[in-house]
């Protein structure tokens, strides 16, 4: 019973964090109708940002959060205007975006490899608290709780942005019908560029906690994170950012249950869930029903 409780509580914590990992990818897809194949590499950059701050400047890794936001703006804004409007004018924007973002992912990975080498880098546990916090008799490290708290704040902030602000309404309008949004007077490129920046920033913030939740950060970690994120948003609902939370929880609980009972099979969880969902409910668990949330 204790094992099951550990798996469930740990799964929820892990799932909330992985909701943050995937939510930026889903937001960007919802607004741009393009899969950012470099999403995992942007998460990885967030991880290396935190590593640099901690190991070279002696700062707490949480200062990686404002750094991730700044990085999202500095990289995302010019990147959007440099490539996305051109892609959308092309005859096959989806395929070209696949190629382009794959190329960006490879460049980021190669540059990171040159700068940091291929080794895995971890962060000191004590930076986010050296104790444990228990729930239902199950203890989890402070760093997990900090990661979950930041994830909840980020997801809650995104929810408020989408549901309570004019830019948020416009973002949802673009997700629903890009053409209708344009003929309503929304500056679609500006709103989409902001969403892209938010998506990259959320990826970077998730990256700050990757060394704690996954164990370490290395240049090769990006591809796997993109695949996991993609599985999570398909499980939740592709194009519905808040559906990512459902996908994240299903992934987190599934992974922790497998790690607890059949550890050697746990890496299969995202792909097995992905296949099951695609076969049973291709629109994702939340489907279109909560598109407006």
């Amino acid at each position: 019973m204790a094992l099951l409780e550990y798996a469930l509580v740990g799964g929820i914590l892990y799932g909330v964090f992985f909701s943050l990992v995937g939510i930026g990818l889903n937001l960007v897809f919802g607004v741009m109708r393009m899969i950012n194949l470099a999403h995992g590499q942007f998460i990885m950059l967030g991880g290396f940002g935190a590593y640099l701050l901690s190991s070279h400047l002696g700062l707490n890794p949480v200062f990686g959060i404002p750094l991730a936001v700044a990085g999202g703006i500095v990289i995302g804004w010019p990147l959007y205007y440099a490539v996305v409007p051109r892609l959308q004018r092309s005859n096959d924007p989806e395929m070209l975006s696949f190629i382009l973002f794959f190329g960006i992912a490879q460049v980021i990975e190669a540059v990171t490899l040159l700068v940091f080498g291929a080794d895995q880098h971890s962060l000191p546990d004590s930076a986010l608290g050296s104790g444990n916090i228990g729930v239902l008799g199950q203890d989890f490290p402070d760093s997990w709780w900090v990661a979950v708290a930041v994830s909840v704040l980020c997801i809650g902030g995104l929810y408020l942005y989408l549901s309570s602000t004019r830019l948020g309404f416009a973002t949802r309008a673009i997700m629903a019908d890009r053409d209708e949004a344009r003929t309503t007077g929304i500056d679609v490129d500006r709103v989409a560029a902001i969403a892209f920046v938010i998506g990259l920033s959320l990826a970077g913030i998730a990256g700050v906690f990757v060394p704690y939740m996954v164990g370490s950060v290395s240049p090769s970690i990006g591809g796997g994170l993109t695949t996991t994120s993609f599985a999570i948003i398909i499980i939740g609902s592709l194009g519905n950012p808040l559906g990512t939370v459902v996908g994240g929880l299903v992934f987190g609980i599934g992974t922790m249950l497998m790690q607890t009972y059949y550890a050697s099979w746990s890496n299969l969880v995202p792909y097995a869930l992905l296949l099951v969902i695609v076969l049973i409910r291709p629109s994702g668990l939340l489907g279109k029903a909560v598109r407006s949330a």
């Binding site: 003929t183 007077g185 679609v188 407006s292």
Partner: protein, 233 residues
Amino acid sequence: MTLLALKGVESGYGPMQILWGIDLEVHEGETVILLGANSAGKTTLLRTIIGVLPCVAGTITLGGEHIEKLPPDQRIRRGIAFMSELGVFPDLSIEENIRLGGYFLSGAEVRRRSQRLYELFPALSERRRSLAASLSGGQRKMLGIAKVLVSEPKLLLMDEPSSGLAPVFVKQVIEVLKVAITGGMTLLIAEQNVAFLPLADRGYLLDGGRVRLSGARAELEASDAVHEAYFGL
């Protein structure tokens, strides 16, 4: 006074040209109807005027200002509004749809104007937090009209406002448009439903992406070409 003027406008979808040398004028306070069978180019013309489709040749002026190179949001800021066949965002609430209609206005101004619209459309006011998808076809059209009226446009473009509506709802839409026309609004309506013809001062008959005929409503009603292309006789 001429509000909207098109001279030699050509447009289409990528390499597929749909419009060929369209000349058209809409004067202030006028209601102009665009007639034509399916695929005549009516929707393409409205989408070119609002800027979703490129004007590859010719000019479009609004109140004398060239707007053919401006993006849609800039045209809307200059006083054009466009109501598509769908007209609303089904996944957003009634209130959110109406607020988006005045996207470029201040929040206070949108709230003030929304209040007036809710008085005009009490059925929407009662359900303002409901999703637009939960509305009937007629109510959705009313919401679409409310959404475009928030910006108090100088010129309202409407694409098939009767599309998908039962006759009883078509009558409701016409009554609302009569109120707008009485208030001095300028309208350019693409429509195949004959019930809209009495609203018009003038009209254009499109055929194969070209203006085949134009004139006052009475001239159009008497025209064999209109009867053939529009009434299907």
